[in-house]
Subunit: 238 residues, 2 copies
Amino acid sequence: MDGGDGRYDARARPPFAVAVDLVVLAVHDQLEVLTITRGIEPFEGVTALPGGFVGPAESVEEAAWRELAEETGLGPAELPEVHLEQLATYGAVDRDPRMRVVTVAHLALSPTRPEPTGGTDAAASAWRPVEGVLSEGLAFDHDRILADGVERARAKLEYTTLAARLAGPDFTMGELQAVFEAVWGVELERANFRRKVLSVPGFVESTGSRRIGRGGGAPATVFRAGPATTMLPPLIRP
Amino acid sequence: MDGGDGRYDARARPPFAVAVDLVVLAVHDQLEVLTITRGIEPFEGVTALPGGFVGPAESVEEAAWRELAEETGLGPAELPEVHLEQLATYGAVDRDPRMRVVTVAHLALSPTRPEPTGGTDAAASAWRPVEGVLSEGLAFDHDRILADGVERARAKLEYTTLAARLAGPDFTMGELQAVFEAVWGVELERANFRRKVLSVPGFVESTGSRRIGRGGGAPATVFRAGPATTMLPPLIRP
DNA sequence: GTAATAGTGTCTGTGAGACACTATAAA
DNA sequence: TTTATAGTGTCTCACAGACACTATTAC
């Protein structure tokens, strides 16, 4: 790790702070992201991603889960339903004007859109459409982090079964298709989509019940996520 | 980044060190990785990945390129031929027994296997087969980092044109196929492989010349890497 | 009735996999 | 000659995309 050259003295090193930032995505009608409005300088009043510093006694992964729980207000019962993975690390020298901060960004995909009552400043948290947030801009380098997170989510829908988690505890085939269409920003052919999803073993399971959607129409079979995690061959976006 | 809660004091924070570690891969006959043998405790005499600390005035990415140049001895002329990308960040509390170190691992793919004459301890650097290194074990959590790096490389060959860079400045179709087979550890069907590679626009370009390989046989067309970076549809490993 | 959604059937084109065949080199 | 590699041809099967058709609900 240090190249074995012996140049090692903890006190002599300048202070690095290590943080985690979260790209928390959910689908309502469009793709939405959990944002905060900063209450202090720098970037006071500007939209930013939730996050915080990694504590001395917690791993980076533990810090990400802790921040996720704090910002969403989700409890131990609902948190396991959220998918959390490391996204990338951002370490430009001047990305934070206050001091040297290296942040490990994480991507979270939530089946629901919990009211952001938790966290240290609840009123400043809000779910907002990704498209609007990206066009209006974010504090620090959070524009790029959000863009990278959205791209990761888009790519992961292609070869994993994560969409079934994003679609909620249960869902109709139309609702699952709507998740793909919202994340990818495209329209899919209904019949081919259904065939593909049902052809992947363990992607979805029928619950046996049926449900009628908003605009009427025939009752649809209700599914839940199955045990599979990957899709082979993938479902490639058009 | 700090959640806007104002709990901010650089001096009050415990010292985090931020490091970069490198998984440098090249294909000779098998898939090989650049390793060092640690000269100091902890893990003195144990195989490890090259790496080092991020300096106060350099970005994480700059530190990765600097370490890559130091460890491989490659100069400004050859370094651009190496593919370098961020792999993942490892932040367990006790991953380094000396102090809290968060390391940003990077993956490097080199077309050649330069003699590791550079670095601070040249004699301790060596190219070794990935399979053997993984079975013998590595210092710190470098086992997992190497395994993650190899898996990333395997996945990237599927949907990018990186194999053409790994195959060297120029290569025959048989040599390019050998790169895929070494990284994936499988055998591919020659005719179908050739057709697939040639069907991707910009994957490879013919140089016009021909070359005869080790075991004789008909002279083969020599190719070089083309401008394309992605493969659609992908070349999926069996 | 119309509009909207769910579910199924079917045709076509692309491409991967398997395998056969010819050509050109070294030993 | 044998052996090894390069290059091409062809057949089959899986699957994505497009589109048509019926069924069931709300209005």
